[in-house]
Amino acid sequence: MSKRIVVPFGPQHPVLPEPIHLDLVLEDELVVDVVPSIGYIHRGLEQLVLKREFTEYVYVAERICGICSFMHALCYSQGIEHIMNIEVPDRAKYLRTIWSECSRLHSHLLWLGLFADGMGFENLFMRSWQLRESVLDVLEDTTGGRVIQGTCKVGGVRRDIGQEKLDEMHRTLDTFEENCRDLGDVFLNDGSVKYRLQGLSVIPRDDAYALGAAGPTARASGVAMDHRETGYAAYGDLGFKPVVETAGDCYARCAVRVRELYSSIDIIRRAIEGMPEGPIDVKVKGTPDGEYFSRVEQPRGEVVHYLRGNGTKHLARARIRTPTLANIPILVKMLPGIQLADVPVVVLSIDPCISCTER
């Protein structure tokens, strides 16, 4: 047995902008053990429910994460709506679905870019981000914010999308899909990408299930869990099938996300076609009294907002479980047995978002 050494990885690392720290125990170049630690950027956002009114907290919830911001606001709003028995108008549900899927598109394109960068494919990184820009432009045109949309509120949405804009979005979707397929083709069929990713840190289905993996990480191992199947917002009307791969390696995790791009485009198209007329919000009266676990499928997996109201305009407690937290145990399982040079790629393959994990 050769001598063991410990190499620190992060919280500042050139390939990973997320502040997670891993102590990698190496034997020569081979990882044999890993000790993760987080806790560098706790902001105490859950505590703020005590100081902000429940309707205002949407803005705070939205700022938990810079990528799935809309979905945090959605998850929080749905939770409060459930506690207060508010029925959201159909048009608001459809709009929420469109913005959720736009967020998923830009999140996955961002991840594909970072992943390509992590494996040293600089050109692909730039092309992914170029494509992502067109999604951000649509978000800015329809909500007023590229990253923080600020359109979700308790009881509906704050902005409508006019028919003209919807038609324009529908027209541009075809070109966008063509570009996405060109890009996805490189990720799925390029020889060097395959060589780098196939067979790297395989997670069998049982392990993924037992360790509670979430989102694309679980689906890449054949666990067909996607919270959108429960039909919140307009997903129930639009028909939706989760994207599942079975190989469980880095390539499968990449393939799930590429194919989710196509399924998101499909959902947006159907949501635009089936967009009902009507109001976009209802008036919120009273205060929340009760508790609820609200769940939404984010690009990285399922997010859970636990909300408890006590009949005042401030909630008594909020607790948020983000998908990255669920994926850290599986990450610890993924790393032993791989080369040090593959560590960045494998860490990126769970799409870590530490800022929202620590809130």
Partner: protein, 128 residues
Amino acid sequence: MGLFKMTKTVLRNLAGGPATRCYPAVPARTSPLTRGHVAFDPATCRSCGICSRRCPCEAIRLDKEAKVWEIDRMRCIACGDCVEGCPFESLTMEQEYFPPVTEHVVEHYTITYVKPEKPAKKPAEESA
């Protein structure tokens, strides 16, 4: 196949020009809805205080006595809630982002709105 794809991408990139822009020489892309920063019109504000109550960041401070309206630019997150809530349209959301600064910026405005004189009841009396 691969070579064909690559040539297509290369040609598209050559013909398409740069995907980025020379910001700040070329202004950033905005849309009519873009939430840049809040602008205040002291001539129409009637000191009702709705904006400061709605603001989730406590960025707005209103002193009714001194007729001073303040906005802390470093606290404001440009959510637009105050703009939606203002009943007198004194607040507007401008498209330009607030430029980066090195010092704390709190803007003070003196409200210049003057309550119009109540129209005298004379005409009513005359008609009566």
